[in-house]
Amino acid sequence: MSVTDTSPTAAGETSAPLLEISNLAKHFEMRAGALKLTRLVLKAVDDVSFSLQRGETLCLVGESGCGKSTVGKLILRLMEPSAGAIRIDGDDVTHAGGAALRQFRRRVQMIFQDPFASLNPHLNAGTIVGEPLENYNLYNARERREQVAALFARVGLRPEAAAKFPFEFSGGQRQRIGIARALALSPDLIVADEPVSALDVSVQAQVLNLLVDLRDQLGLAYLFISHDLGVVEHIAHRVAVMYLGRIVEIGDKRTIFSRAQHPYTQALIAAAPVADPRVKRDAIVIEGDVPSPLDPPKGCAFHTRCPFAFARCSQETPLLTRRGDGHLAACHLDMP
């Protein structure tokens, strides 16, 4: 992928983007067969490139298993990429280790999907939120308590809650604790992996609004991983759509939601539920299941399910090409 997209919200053309990933890939090698002689390569993430500016929210959408969480983990350096590069403010951190990795970790934090599994049940909320500060030996014990209290206030929890244990909180409150923990080191970027999908709908909106407020107050950038397009529409500046480990379309939110070029994006948007039974849909309906990532179709990976597929689609893998300002799509169809 040679084309690098530029963000429409870029503050200045000269400044390096906060996060830039280029040609990122993660391949898992597997062995099959009775004697484990057949080698299979699972391309969980293949040739993914995008950049993210300060204060910007990029949503990564796609069906489960399309590699969007893996992209998040690669960026967080929880997994080693097979290829490609991750740069933060122009610094290559792809293979950073030791002190460099520790410094990198202060800048990139994570919010988890499951508010129950992501908090250690044996630690109280104050300890959980204060842990990052302790890891970096920031502040003394008293200052740390004050910091934790400030973080609790910031995410809408009472400071007294610091003494409680995770089981004493509701799902939404737990997610707020997880957000407070992610904010403790004042990161520039937060990778949020489906942060609201485990919550009740009423609580979803509250947590989502909190994330938006924090972004506006603190200038945070989010890499927001989600499969819920309603949520995406609410929070995204830009949207990247993934299918079988590759980005098939990326662009700013309005473009993606109104002028999607890739049939897969169109189908995803059409499939999102609308809270109005009278709305008639002339949607593209895609059939069948996602092909096995162990044996992806030749050519365009989507051609097996695409209603517009033609001969070329099964032979040639489409590259991301420019469809407008900061809008890229990987499809052989040249739609207006």
């Binding site: 967080l76 929880l78 520790r102 970790r105 202060r106 990139v108 934090q109 994570m110 988890f112 999907q113 499951d114 599994a117 992501s118 908090l119 250690n120 049940p121 044996h122 630690l123 109280n124 842990e131 990052p132 890891n135 970096y136 007294e160 003494a163 409680k164 244990f165 089981f167 004493e168 997880g178 923990r181 403790a184 080191l185």
Partner: protein, 294 residues
């Protein structure tokens, strides 16, 4: 218990007295255990005689509930005329000491090996799993007999041998539990927050193992006590004249037909101690499990 809507918000609330006091097994086991501990602790004060003093004129005096029993020896005397009550009181010390030290030694070995194997996985796991399997292939009693035969029997040899042999359950349980916790989101969160491997193990993994360690430790304490008794019974445990309950059983076995209380009294105490330890272990597991705290 009345509802404390307010108190429930305090962290100390999870450890409030009624919470464990309501667990009848824990309370019963705790009381028996406390009595046996006190027996051992206060043996010098409580014991009416020196447990080593022989009195060949008063051999095999029956306990007080027999027609011929006397208050001079409430639980009678053994075949050498030693006061049985005094020996039982001092014997509690030996049994408890062996149980606790063996569990401590094996707990450290097993936990270090198990957590290391579980957390790091891969080749480390293969090597440690091999060591565990090798250990499981050794029959404890046979190895203990061989070592005692080589080095002679003493309290420290018994503790050393059992401590170096009984860590397998610790290792297996810790390895399996660590493998589960290692992949938990909160461990990933700690990594993202820059925690070192040591910090992750101590702060994130160990607190979640504490319950399992306690439960395994109680099992091992009980097993060590029983094994010591078995070794002593075979004449290869603690050397006489040390008043161990197992040794008392061994010494009483020739009189089982006509003076069965020589066996039944230390036997009942051993049974009560092991039962109490197991009750306490189960109770602690129930009470400290985080999901049942509320």
């Amino acid at each position: 218990m009345p509802a404390h809507s307010d108190a429930a918000s305090a962290p100390a609330a999870a450890w409030r007295m009624p919470r464990w006091a309501r667990h009848s097994g824990l309370v019963a086991g705790g009381i028996i255990l406390a009595i046996i501990f006190l027996m051992g602790l206060l043996a010098p004060v409580l014991a009416p005689y020196n447990p080593y003093d022989q009195n060949l004129l008063a051999r095999i005096v029956p306990p007080i509930w027999h027609e011929t029993g006397t208050w001079a020896h409430p639980l009678g005397t053994d075949h050498l005329g030693r006061d049985y009550l005094s020996r039982l009181l001092y014997g509690a010390r030996v049994s408890v000491f062996i149980g606790v030290t063996v569990a401590f030694v094996s707990g450290i070995i097993g936990t270090v090996l198990g957590v290391t194997a579980g957390y790091f996985g891969g080749k480390t796991d293969t090597v440690i799993s091999f060591i565990i399997t090798a250990r499981l292939a050794l029959p404890v009693i046979l190895v203990a007999l061989a070592v005692v035969a080589l080095f002679g029997s003493s309290l420290s040899v018994v503790v050393g041998v059992l401590g170096l042999l009984l860590w397998d359950r610790f290792a297996l349980v810790m390895r399996a539990t660590t493998q589960q916790i290692r992949d938990a989101d909160f461990v990933m969160a700690a990594k993202v927050q820059g925690a070192s491997t040591w910090q992750i193990i101590m702060q994130e993994i160990m607190p979640n193992l504490a319950t399992n360690i306690t439960v395994v430790a109680t099992l091992e304490i009980a097993q060590a006590i029983v094994l010591e008794a078995a070794l002593s019974f075979l004449g290869l445990g603690v050397p006489p004249p040390l008043p161990s309950w197992g040794l008392m059983l061994a010494e009483g076995k020739s009189f089982i037909l006509f003076d069965p209380w020589l066996i039944t009294i230390p036997g009942m105490l051993l049974f009560g101690l092991v039962l109490a330890i197991n009750l306490v272990g189960d109770g602690l597991r129930d009470v400290t499990a985080p999901d049942s705290r509320n």
